[in-house]
Symmetry: D3
Subunit: 242 residues, 6 copies
């Protein structure tokens, strides 16, 4: 089985980190293909960048010319998953939803610890639309920008642990979700520091995508995610990024 | 005052219809500028098309080289308003929210009558995120595609009236919102046929945009809609549509 | 166009402040008529006083013997708007709802800063019934009584700014609504002090009322706000206040 | 113990019906005093009439010159209970809330069958504010006006049973609340016809009021229902109805 | 009338405390019978113990061989009430719901002060399912285990008062519910210390059970709480506890 | 890896059907062990039976004397999962939640088709507590009892398809969940008949349990699901079923 793991930003090193994290949990026989969008921002931390990422991810996936069995959109709180579901017949898994869905099997309430404060409302809104917000204790910002996670991993770790502990003690979270694709790989350390299960969205998404494929399940095409109607579209595909 | 009214699809005749509708209610001294995106679908009836429209609208507005005082995004249930709010310092008004917000001053519950069934969840989701859903009695599809509204206005009128009446009698709506930018101009007839107030999102948005400008109010820049952080963005602006 | 702006308390100086504030934003050609109820409390800060205000406002409007195009109920969190909607055929705008509805075009979440703690639940309840509460970050009390706003405007300003800042930093509000008709005129200073948009309900309501009139829209008479059925009513109108 | 049962309309025969119903369940030693407001409508079926009733009930209770232990406001879905709670130190029980609260001990979901369609939103709104709506399956109108209940009891019974059966079968109600003070006495027949428990708000309220008195509990005066602050009130009490 | 008051744990002294508390408010002619389950935990502070209590309470009630008119399940936040409702034709009252339902007649919002932090989610979940959570300001843990309430009543009192005061000042509660059957008898002291009404679930449940019996009302058997279908059940009744 | 799949009723043939269904999707190297409770009802269709099943499942799992890596509770809408989570350190997956969680990756809204009408509220309540109800379009009863599914599979299929089609067309479901452990194996046929994805809770639960084990995640022990405190428990374990 081949799963495309698509980064939402254009920083190739983050794509690589994400793909490695995905490979670490993939079942034998699962091939993980990491993809970087052809256009967009070097990191996604707001609505403009997130909307741009939405079509950049669709563009990149549509440009991929080999068969594949599932797609993972590896951005936390980003737009676009619904569009991919319309364009494809294979399952699409968003890491925000994968993490929340997994966390809900592990504790009564979960919190998300993410990067900058400005991204908190995006994540909350995506969780609300996904119907996964009722048991969300809080979404907290560590104050670390996406690229700082790579540049200063020690400071990032401390900042994330600090907010995770506040989530646990003040907000009554029992599980922590790492709220950024770029936090891949920090889960084990944070679990040791906080004493609660820590869910990384990328690895959670890999197991969910594999599960859907194994169960023979894919996106319902009966209404919301039906294939787009045939119509004249100017500027897509073919004009973006290539 | 100059207000940009941006269509979400690439059909220029619809832009013209919308702009005329806007001009009909604009205050003396308000200039309405209708804009058609440089790229995207001829009509927007789903998530892929809507996400494409989101950036196409941002692209078109950023390419406009004259000063302006407010922007109206003239697509019903579409993505993108939050991105415009980040990029601009002037008020941004989405017609979905303008219509709902206006309807709530007129009756205890309102319904939206839109085009195709597949767009219903998009509209519901936008209203939920906007916090304007609590008094929404229903979102109903007339079954008419966006372009059919232009091609067969009589059939469209009948289909819309039929659903409006069901909304009133079955769902207990007291106000009807016309759920498509392309329905501009049908409000008076539908009011006469149904006996309830009918809100057109475009005209409602014009008065709201004018009001915000007159009150000296614009988007809060303190958190969610802060200007995007300076960072490397590949493929924007300058590569799209021009 | 003539708009009646009705104070909810019997203090004429507050009526005058409100009317001046309304006139400052009214469009050319809009006449603002300030009305003070014939009976009720000198300030409204609780349910008994608010219920009394509800009928006092209806009484005062029904006693007005000139034509008018819209009515603004200028009390924050007060009862009664629904009764006016039944009695009248012109639009009725409540300043609590006008402020919230306007704030929602400006930021992801808004807070209300009001007078006494005891009025907080009234405001919350009105916003909940109005379906405008989902994006309300908080309703906070400054601790200043209504009449103290006039008597000690400097202290009032400080107390309001203090709560506005807590709303912004602790509750994540991005817009502040001034939660008392008597706070009219403070908006610009508070905006400068806090850095976020500040919405005054009276001026917001004026633009909304004007907009509804211009759009030819008024209260739906089909169900909730139908004209009262003809029946014997003892003690109304004619026994109150005249 | 003396309990005041206050009608919300000015029709004395309805007061008498209600008081008799109350006496039928009152404990030995409980004196039921039926009161008719000095002003207001002969029946209450909308917001204007309901707001008028709100102060008429307060006026009537304040004019009562004997000691009493509790007050029951015997109107379904009416305004005013919060004002009474501010003015009094004894418990205040609203029959809408008494019925819903009681019904929730009897089945998984309850419905209310009331009089005219126009009163349905009032009842729904009161239940929502009371926090008793989550298990409400529906509020249904029988189409019978309040006074028709007295004039044509047989037709009323049939109309109520018809809606009760639809509530049970279509809306999955397991308990029926009689949504009008004037329906007092119909509960037993409707229970026999429908096979589910039927709750009359007046009798439910009597047992709740007695219980609160016996438990030594009354309205919390710490915040929302604190006694009104001393201030100048024009036109209350003393000018109404006497 | 005979009311069974069933403890959820197997500590007989707590049964006795509860029964005495119940008798103190029971009407003349009401006999209170305290029952202790034949099996289960000495105190119930978690889900395993609560599920065990659920069937232990059913077992104990089914083993009672005299007629009775109502049953009170005297555990706060425990499972099982729905099962009793299926097995019995007389009313069943849970003290968690009795307390919340009563508190809602007394103030705008209530809080529960319970024993250990781990029981807080159980209570919240029961209140949510009961549809009585909308006006719950908070559920707070005193940190005292159930058995410590008996062993060190002075420390318990202080710990409960401390949390009650935080509920009042921080969470805006206007009424306090004592969140443990074993807190019976502390209500008056806590009321004096905090200045707000304090509701004990056991006494509230007694008056509600008596009221339902007097009103001739019992559990609806039409759907959710219909008598179990005749089927082969291994291990019940007859194998438990006797 | 060894996964215990525990039936909630005492009918061994249903345990076998469930276990076979689980084995059909289990990964190579996963051993599925089907367990039948030692006590309880031959089918679980209501609260009494479900509470009994709750402890019977705990009892059966605690009596299992070999190591295992995860537990699946194979009853739809049943009580007890929280208790298992307290008693065990390995992941516990409830099939109700597994099905809903999986369905939410496949469509905008899902419906559950279950057995008898009386079980509908149990399923709804479990989904609400699990925070998975927001995107539930409906829970519908086929009218077939659990044991009839085995006795008359053709009739069961028709009844399920009929309700699934109503869920799709009337309630706007895009995915169907099979709401009974005993429906295992019908998913493919129903998918072909309805054209939408059909989720079987047992197979979904197997992939989720395997995923949690692979990810090294298990129940958070920090609060709600902490191991029960050491205390005297009469009648557990050791007196039930052995």
């Amino acid at each position: 089985m081949r799963i495309l793991v698509v980064n939402v930003n254009t920083t190739a090193s983050i794509t690589e980190t994400i793909a490695q994290q995905a490979r670490a949990v993939a079942a034998p026989g699962t091939e993980i293909v990491g993809l970087t969008p052809y256009f967009g921002a070097e990191s996604v931390e707001g609505n403009f960048e997130s909307y741009l990422a939405a079509i950049a991810v669709m563009d990149r996936v549509m440009a991929y010319d080999q068969p594949f069995d599932a797609v993972i959109q590896a951005g936390y709180g980003e737009h676009g998953r619904e569009g991919l579901q319309e364009l494809l017949n294979v399952p699409v898994v968003d890491i925000t939803e994968a993490a929340a869905s997994t966390a809900m099997f592990l504790g009564h309430a979960y919190s998300v610890v993410t990067t900058l404060d400005r991204t908190v409302p995006l994540i909350e809104d995506r969780l609300k639309l996904a119907g996964l917000y009722a048991r969300c204790a809080s979404v907290r910002a560590s104050g670390m920008a996406v690229l700082e996670l790579e540049e200063d991993p020690l400071a990032a770790m401390e900042a994330i642990v600090r907010q995770a502990e506040r989530a646990i003690h003040d907000d009554k979270a029992e599980v922590i979700c790492l709220g950024c694709g770029g936090m891949a790989g920090l889960d084990e350390q944070i679990r040791q520091r906080t004493g609660v299960p820590v869910v990384d969205g990328v690895t959670a998404a890999v197991t969910i995508a594999e599960s859907l494929v194994r169960l023979g399940l894919s996106t319902s095409k009966i209404r919301t995610y039906a294939t787009p109607r045939p119509k004249k579209v100017i500027g897509w595909p073919g004009m973006f990024g290539r």
